[in-house]
Amino acid sequence: MHSLFVTGRLISRALLNGIHNFSTATDPKLQQKTEPFLVSAVCGFSKERKIQRLVKGQFGDDAWFTTKHKSSDVLGVADGVGGWRAYGIDPGEFSIHLMKACERLVTLGLFSPTNPSELLANGYYELLHNKKSILGSSTACVVLLNRENSTLYTANIGDSGFMVVRRGRVVRRSEEQQHYFNTPFQLSLPPPGYRADVLSDRPDSASTDNIPVEDGDVILVATDGVFDNLPQNIILNELVKCQGERCANRLQMVANSIAWMARSLSFDETFISPFAERAFANGINTIGGKPDDITVILATVAI
């Protein structure tokens, strides 16, 4: 039925335009869109067992955004550092404002499609201009698909991260930036008076990377709640399922299952999680998952 309609339209157009236009009207290349884009799905959980408030773009202290501009698709996650709760500061506030600022910069087109670390830095400086005094600190990871050259540009600060999987193999994975065990690099705006005692990394200390992508590549952007609780082979098993997936609903199901597995394992006290393994390597004897906020952004490249 669909093809009949298309053919009918082509014929009528050809008749309208005269026969010499016929060849261009049927040229398949003109009909086809070659611009790459991302199909994405998001899932996550707050570490609190009961749901307190539901704000779009936030799971507990984690925050995320997915947005696009004409030159690129952008995904980002940030994980607010929970230690601030002791100072009476909501750790989720910094991360969600950081992500919102980045999102606005992208929708206004004020970013370079090859430099996500600059985007992160500008988002961070934007927090200083907010009337509300936003305090706290956060790790962050921004992934940007440049449509022009089908390349993924990434910037990562701290222990959130991304993973690119192609036909069952991990092509690229972000590296954690840590000062010492369980203390990641972080962007921060400490309260006045605490400046000297607070770890604060400049936004330009983000590690950047770029990878050419192919059609069907799977991209996972997630906070440490996922990477600390799910061993890489489990994640990989799930990601393989959505190689080349273009249906957002089916992608959503995979994202749900990753987030759900990470959440169940984070409360499992007997499981030897990647976090426990690393703790052991650092001389800390612990076992079980690491209860944390979990955010999963799953995307596939469609060219």
Binding site: R53, L54, V55, K56, A101, R104, L105, T107, L108, L110, Y125, E126, L128, H129, N130, K131, K132, S133, L189, P191, P192, G193, R195
Partner: protein, 569 residues
């Protein structure tokens, strides 16, 4: 009547949001940020129908009548030429598709009611069409989609100019988006017909024939006015606004001769007639005036296209050259043709007392300075640099009011304050809203200005730890009437207590975003500062909301601002 042209031509109906915001006369933030910025007006609404103080929406710098009451606020040079609706600010918005407008919707998400006029124009066209005007209104505090009934104009427009009068507002107004709807011509021919005004041909009503009474014989007998001595007639003419004066000049030869008299044009204020001013208007006054003292040309650059702007500049150059020895007051706000050449002529006006260059960003240097008697200098949102400013400050010992809001070209404010302490001891106003170039020790130098009345240091110390400088300032500057400390995040009770103890003259105190201020100190400010009228404690998280509600009832003469952002959820 609506859509007569649309029916004639079967045009398509289009709804569009702003494509590119072009210009605003006032803004909350500096140029480097997208929070509260003009840029946020582009595209769809983000927050409407929520109501609150959101960084995603556009904000003006001032509200209410607070800013008008200050000593350094602009005074009308010709009070008779006042705009009846008193437009204070405007924004110009660019839409992608040119169309015949049917409606304009303004999405206001905070303190609505300030819109007073909407104008429309084709981007390259010469003329602005008034689409709607109305007085400012007091509105309920809720998000409002404001869509006034527009005048029917059968012309294509793609620029909107929205004028504001903030005087009835309780707090900053905020706009989320602007929607323009109308009919788009389908073919180029239609666009040409409408663009040239030929579509109006059907709605053209012939003017009623004016019957000319043949009573010329009587006039000489009944014209008591011309029996008055010329001095008296000039006195009467002096009280007329420019529009009436130009009508008078068409009455008779005597009146025409008198209306040309130079004494009528010592003070010229063209801002209310911004849409009528052309380069030749300025030439006209250059020829007609003998002595020009005060000139207000603010807003008079609305022809937009580049060649006309340079004609404007040329006309202004001729005027400045002729009157360089007489001009004392020069108000050139929001003009886009003030370039380096014009500046070179401005600095040669040796008698200048008041110079306002707010929001003109085309010039870069202000070097050869010949001005020596400046009292007021307004450089808000310009690209002035440290060296030029230091040269001016050194040459003008009488300087009382210095306004440097949002000047991102200034690199070392400490040095500037230092120069001022030596050369400009008479300073009463120092404003540097959003100038982020102070160091921790810079503020202590304000103690050398005992006469300081108006100190605006909003957003100057966002991430600085200033320690006890404020205590020292409070102890020396006891005449302070207006103190703006917005976003001094580390402001503490001790500093505030010192201000309350020493500065009894304070009328306007702004503590926005000081999260360490406690409820007790704040209450002390309310009952210990006898002249306090406006207190801004928005985003002060240490102050309990229920207390503020009690205070508003307890101190009805004080306006307490408590702005807030509602969490969406």
């Amino acid at each position: 009547m609506d859509g007569v042209v649309a029916q004639q031509f079967r045009m398509t109906y289009v709804e569009q949001f702003v494509w590119r915001p072009e210009f605003s006369t006032s803004k909350y933030n500096g140029p480097g940020s997208i929070s509260y910025a003009l840029l946020t007006l582009s595209g769809r609404y983000k927050k409407y129908p929520q109501y609150g103080d959101f960084p995603e929406c556009f904000f003006f710098r001032d509200y209410g009548t607070w800013w008008k009451e200050e000593a350094c606020s602009p005074v009308l040079y010709r009070p008779q030429d006042e705009d009846p609706l008193q437009a204070q600010d405007f924004i110009v918005l660019y839409f992608q598709i040119a169309l015949v407008p049917t409606s304009v919707y303004i999405y206001q998400v905070y303190n609505p009611g300030a819109v007073i006029r909407i104008w429309g124009k084709m981007h390259c066209g010469p003329k602005w069409f008034l689409l709607w005007e109305g007085p400012p209104r007091k509105c309920k505090p809720e998000a409002k989609k404001f869509g006034p009934p527009l005048r029917n104009i059968n012309c294509l427009i793609n620029l909107l100019r929205i004028e504001f009068n903030h005087s009835l507002l309780d707090y900053h107004t905020s706009i989320d988006a602007v929607l323009l709807t109308g009919h788009q011509p389908l073919t180029r021919l239609q666009a040409q017909i409408i663009g040239r005004g030929l579509a109006n041909i059907h709605s053209f009503v012939p003017e009623p024939a004016v019957s000319i009474r043949n009573d010329s014989s009587d006039t000489s007998g009944n014209d008591y006015f011309s029996m008055l001595p010329n001095e008296i007639i000039l006195q009467i003419f002096q009280r007329l606004d420019l529009l009436s004066l130009s009508r008078c000049s068409q009455v008779s030869k005597t009146w025409y001769e008198l209306s040309k008299h130079g004494s009528l044009y010592h003070h010229i204020s063209l801002k209310p007639y911004w849409n009528l001013v052309r380069p030749r208007t300025i030439d006209y006054f250059t020829d007609r005036c003998t002595v020009l003292k005060k000139l207000d040309l603010s807003w008079c650059d609305q022809s937009m296209s580049g060649s006309i702007l340079s004609e404007f500049a040329d006309s202004l150059l001729r005027l400045l050259f002729k009157f360089k020895d007489t001009i004392t007051h020069l108000d050139l706000r929001d003009l886009r043709y003030i370039d380096d050449d014009v500046i070179d002529f401005i600095v040669r006006c040796t008698k200048l007392v008041e110079l306002r260059l707010k929001n003109s960003r085309e010039w870069t240097r202000l070097d050869d300075n010949f001005m020596t008697s400046l009292v007021l200098l307004d450089l808000t949102y310009t690209q002035i640099n440290d060296l030029s400013l230091i040269r001016i400050m050194k040459a003008n010992p009488l300087l009382e009011h210095l306004i440097l809001d949002q000047c991102e070209g200034l690199g070392d404010m400490d040095a500037l304050v230092g120069v001022a302490t030596r050369y400009n001891k008479k300073l009463r106003t120092w404003r540097s809203w959003k100038v982020n170039a102070y160091s921790e020790d810079g503020f202590i130098m304000f103690t050398y200005f005992p006469d300081l009345e108006d100190l605006d240091l909003g957003w100057c110390a966002v991430d600085l730890d200033v320690g006890s400088s404020l205590v020292a300032i409070a102890q020396s500057c006891r005449k302070l009437k207006r103190l703006i400390l917005s976003a001094w995040r580390m402001l503490d009770d001790e500093s505030l207590a010192a201000i309350i103890e020493n500065c009894k003259e304070i009328r306007h105190l702004d503590l926005l975003g000081a999260r360490n201020i406690s409820t007790n100190v704040c209450e002390r400010a309310l009952y210990k500062l006898p002249k306090l009228r406006l207190l801004d404690i928005s985003y002060c998280e240490g102050i309990r909301r229920d207390e503020v509600e009690i205070w508003t009832q307890q101190y009805p003469h004080i306006t307490i601002q408590r702005s807030y952002e509602i969490n969406d959820g």
